[in-house]
Symmetry: C2
Subunit: 129 residues, 2 copies
DNA sequence: ATAATACCGACTAGTTAGGTCGGTATTAAT
DNA sequence: ATTAATACCGACCTAACTAGTCGGTATTAT
């Protein structure tokens, strides 16, 4: 029941990039301005690039930039991209012998749905202004 | 971003007890019926008793029973009692140098509030019927 | 006296989060 | 062509936490 540092750093990086509006920004800058460990940030941004959230350019004056418009990116997407564990309990989509007469699953499903609705409704742009 | 086994077991145990309607029920029974490791269940119930959710009776025909009416117990209460980590990110109530100009905190606070609202609204009785 | 129970504290193995480190590939400026 | 700045990659590491186990003690109905 905790959001990982990875996702926290990831969102901070995305917000930083969103405010750069299209120009490429180096990991060095993000790392320094956002106080994120450089080596770790590398891994995070690489993952976000593979997930289609960022574009990269190598070499001098290279860096990262958003791959989509920032009104189209949600926190939910970010979480999924970074592998944030979203499934609150295993039994929701797993096999459970007791599932049929299990009453606690109703609680987990409610919480799960509410959570997903919330994170999918928070866009990057809504955080910036 | 996961609900601990402890809380899952805890809720299952509470639901079991709620269906017994006032009579004491042994850990042995709960453990067997709900497929919860006995030794672990002991610790969990002990914690719930200290937290005021359960009452206990020692000796033969002893066991546990609910300490409150089941319409007054919420999943949120259970979580707090069992020490489920509810704070999604440390910076929400912690000290963070960047807090003033930090834009990601808006996201975390939204998610946090929504989560708390949800869990505090799920009562034990609503899960049973 | 016995058996069934709750109660308690110490211990442990496996997993995960949150990184670090060293090296390689690419590219703009000189 | 060389250099410096960057992204990219995989292997490794450590501390904390989860999900228990275990052995023993206290209490109580029969």
């Amino acid at each position: 029941m905790k959001i990982s540092k990875k996702s926290q750093y990831g969102l901070r990086a995305m917000i930083h990039l969103a405010q750069k509006d299209g120009s490429f920004c180096s990991l060095k800058e993000i790392s320094e301005k956002e106080l994120i460990p450089f080596n770790y940030l590398e891994k995070i941004c690489s993952q976000m690039e593979k997930g289609g959230l960022l574009k990269s350019r190598k070499g001098v004056y290279g860096g990262y930039t958003l791959a989509k418009k920032h009104e189209d990116i949600t926190v939910g997407e970010l979480f999924r991209c970074l592998g944030e564990r979203m499934l609150l309990v295993d039994c929701i989509d797993g096999i459970c012998a007791q599932k049929k007469h299990c009453k606690s699953i109703n609680a987990w499903e409610k919480i799960q749905k509410s959570l997903e609705k919330t994170i999918n409704s928070i866009t990057l742009i809504s955080l910036i202004k």
